[in-house]
């Protein structure tokens, strides 16, 4: 009996060790606490920004995607320890991986779901594409910088994303043959919103553009195309800041 108990304990220990080793091997273990803290922060920030976003909590599928996609896989080894801090990080070539809070609200604002097709202009590290791929049917992403596009392709393949389609080149004309799209996200710098992108957007769809320099999203511009094809834009501040005080 004692032997059996010891064997049982040994088995449990072995299992637990094996699980631990497995998790460590996946590179997840060191980040679990940081990830939990990050999601708590994002949820809190969204609540505090509800005035501007018109919602007090994130879509559960967006939150699930954020929890699932390993952000540390999208940054250099030297920056992995910062992967779950709520801040943008450099990814080389003068580009950054966006602040998780901004990624969360941009994805949420697209209002997309299963079966949708999303076009992304500016793949960068591929993190935003991976988040979207967890939610929608197909993600089409175009990257203009060859080195970035190739490394994102390799990374996304390694992580097992089969519903992300990458292309190198000019994003101005969108991806005509794969359109129309339910949503378009433009993270590449643009002095204006290209007409081809608007035409490749389905009625009822949205284009989202974070406006601002590297390391900071000044504001989010959302283009809404209604069922009749008319366009309106919304300029959202991803921060709870009311410039006017008192009566006016």
């Amino acid at each position: 009996m004692l032997f059996l108990r010891h064997s049982y304990l040994a088995l449990l220990l072995a299992l637990s060790f094996s699980l631990t080793v497995q998790t460590w091997a996946n590179g997840e273990e060191p980040y679990i606490a940081a990830r939990k803290e990050l999601f708590r922060q994002i949820e809190k920030n969204v609540r505090e920004t509800s005035y501007y976003l018109n919602k007090s909590e994130l879509d559960p599928q967006v939150l699930a995607a954020l929890q699932k996609v390993p952000r540390h896989e999208f940054v250099d080894n030297a920056l992995k320890n910062l992967a779950y801090e709520n801040r943008p990080l450099p990814i080389g070539h003068g580009q950054t991986i966006s602040q998780p809070f901004i990624v969360a609200i941009m994805t949420d604002l697209l209002s997309v779901g299963k079966g949708d097709r999303v076009l992304e202009i500016g793949t960068g590290s591929g993190y935003q594409a991976a988040i979207l791929a967890e939610i929608v049917g197909e993600v089409y992403s175009i990257e203009i910088i060859e080195e970035l596009g190739k490394s994102a392709q390799e990374r996304l393949q390694r992580l097992g994303y089969t519903n992300i389609h990458l292309r190198l080149g000019d994003g101005y004309y969108g991806w005509q043959e794969r359109g129309p799209f339910d949503a378009i996200i433009v993270t590449a710098a643009a002095s204006h919103i290209p007409a081809p992108l608007i035409s490749q957007l389905k009625p009822g769809g949205k284009i989202i553009i974070p406006v601002g320099g590297p390391f900071m999203a000044q504001q989010l511009v959302v283009v809404d195309k209604d069922v009749n094809g008319s366009l309106t834009t919304r300029q959202l501040l991803p921060v709870m800041f009311v410039p006017l005080t008192g009566k006016h």
């Binding site: 450099p90 002095s191 204006h192 921060v239 006017l244």
Partner: protein, 853 residues
Amino acid sequence: MTPHTQSAPCLSALLPGRPATFGATVNSVGGDNNGGLLESCESPQDQAQQRPPLIAIALVSATALAYEILLMRLFSIIQWHHFAYMIISLALLGYGISGTFVAIFHEKLLASFQRKYLSCILLFAVSTSTCYLLAQRIQFNALEILWDIGQLGRLLLIYPLLVLPFFFAASSMAMALLRFRGQSAGIYGADLIGAGCGSIGVIALLYLMLPSSALLVIVAMGATAAAVALIELKMKSVVLPLFILLILLVLILQANQQLLPNISPYKGLAQALRIQGTRIAEQKSSPLGLISVVESPVIPWRYAPGVSLNSTVEPPEQLALFTDADSMTAITRFDGDYSKVAYLDQQTSALAYHLRQIDKALIVGVGGGSGILQAGLHHVGQIEGLELNPQVVAIGKSHGEFSGNIFERPGTTIHTTEARGFISQSKESFDLIQIELLDSFNASSAGLYALHESYLYTVEALQAYLKHLSVGGYLSISRWVKVPPRDSLKLFATALDSLKRLGVESPEKRLLLIRGWQTSTLLIKNGLIAAGEIEILKTFCRQRSFDLAYYPGIKAEEANRYNLLREPYFYQGTQALLSEHADFVRRYKFNIAPATDDRPYFFHFLKPATIPELIDLRDKGGLPLLEQSYLILVATLFQASVASVFLILLPLKFAKHLPGRQRALYRKIFLYFFLIGLGFMFLEISFMQKFLLFLHHPLFAASLVLTAFLVFAGLGSACTKNLSRNWLPEKVLGWALCLLITMSAGYIPLLDRIFALFLGQTILVKMLISIVMIAPLAFCMGMPFPLALDRLGKAAPELIPWAWGVNGCASVISAVLAMLFAINFGFTMVILMAMLFYGVAFFSFPNCADSGC
């Protein structure tokens, strides 16, 4: 803001009298041991008869000042201007450090003067390029500084590297003054002439070559100074060829591309060059900026900011123009077919062309020429374009075939001048004065221009433009849309103030404000807005999905239709400005008080009271609302103050040979030299800005004012020696300060009137008038320093280097402090503060009772 006011000026030059009196009064005896690397076979008699190496001193001074301005240019290209300002300001503490260094080691330094003097010059020459190269290798990311505290550590590595060259230059000067005491007038004259030549020389140099190449000239100038010093000191150096070889080696080693600015990968040019096929086709350097022309044959630029979402026209092929590796604008291919540039009619700035037929337009800020094309598209017969940078105009003309020669088409004239200067001299009236978007969105939205003095958007500027509008004409100003609104509301408030000052009836009936998703345009009419114009306005906006923010009689439901904000902030803001102007400006969380010529900081929106709230929102998307350059200015002040305290206190703690004088004397010396340091820079910076409005061209104004201040302050300083022979120093000081304060006080109300009298004169006459006005003021400003050093030399010569260090540190701090005061209270207040500093300094003058002389 100009290159000369951006950085703290060369201290050896801008603290007149310090070197001269320093050399004249220090009683320590210097001599050579004639050992070491550089041999001298001079006898004691030779030493007595030896003349100071005046040409070498002038060369070192010229090189140091040129190097300072050049570093400012280089770091403006590598990083952004406000970071360059911070880095160079702190590097100038090298002068303060040399004061401390000399205070502690002056006996040892003088024991082998020639060897150490020449070593300093050579180390200065070599360190100019070497330290810059090393500093470039430190991967500092300015944009990440608010996210990553580690970036501060990297910045702390850059500082000492850039301090070194200034430390060596200042130490060589101090040692020469110590060694050749009694000949300080000549040394000081050489120093000033050198500094003057350096400031003018580097301007010419930057027109002739790229900044990286100019750095090699700086090294060569430093090496020449060393070689000249060897000759002047009549030293038989066995290793002179070795030194020259060493310098040549440094030049050759560094010439290989390494000196090219390692531009931040986050700047527009660096990012553009990563796109397949892009290449720099042409680069032109000037002190106003490095212009890079970039081709992108594979993927077009398609630069068309703020174009309506309804536009379907793709911009034609373009060439990108980057200024200091950022702030992109474009030259557009034009073959005479205006339908290909029809997208220019889909911008908010096109509104005025729809309201009436424009026959004569003035385009302010020509850049790549899109404003000229837009005017052409709307059949404007006579177009006058203004562009400050001649290099931009030259590039535009040299690509005439590409751009359809739009700068030279019949009816179009391009003036290379500044807008206020042009307007003040023009007798013409225009149907439209169009002020283009002159800054980039990213830099503007991040608050990178907050320290930038702009006389384009002040109340006085708008008044001047309005006076040059024909009856029924429009002043049209476009800005980037920011949320929450800042520029547009500040501009609206400025327009209201301008119209009120002009005394026109119903200012509120002369304004129109529209906005798209990215840009807004404010129109101010010389006349009342007619009902027909309002109908055209509505149609224009409806067709382009632009929003009405203000027109006389606008209803709340008409605003915020196409580009939706959480609340109709632009409508609310304009209504509030009309109904409760001052109260609304006070309550709004950003600074939207109109900019004036006395406080020309249009781009400064941050209110100190809002900073804690924004810092709290940092990781919640609130970071961009913090104005980076203003915070950098505060950080620079903090760092300079901490470093200065350290530098000022260090000699007192470690220098055992300093006499144990009573505390009162130390306190007086500190107060006096610190206050005159503050006063000098406060006056110099303020008057540089005041004269800029008179001379108009920022480069000419800064060069002229700086040189005039240098030369006349030097003359004032040189005169103190003779004056002190006949009168007590207190009396001379009293008169000098009395005159200085009276003149400063008089200039506050009189300058504008004097400027108005000579407004129509040629630039040469204006320059002469400026010199005549600066001369007596600068002359008096040059006297307080040598007078006190003279007194100190008799009583406590050991304290002279310390006083020098105190004054040097004060000068660095004052450059930053003056800007902070100007931003918050205006330049008139800066002048008043300077008067106060000088007044208090008079009562801190070390008298005989204190010093025991």
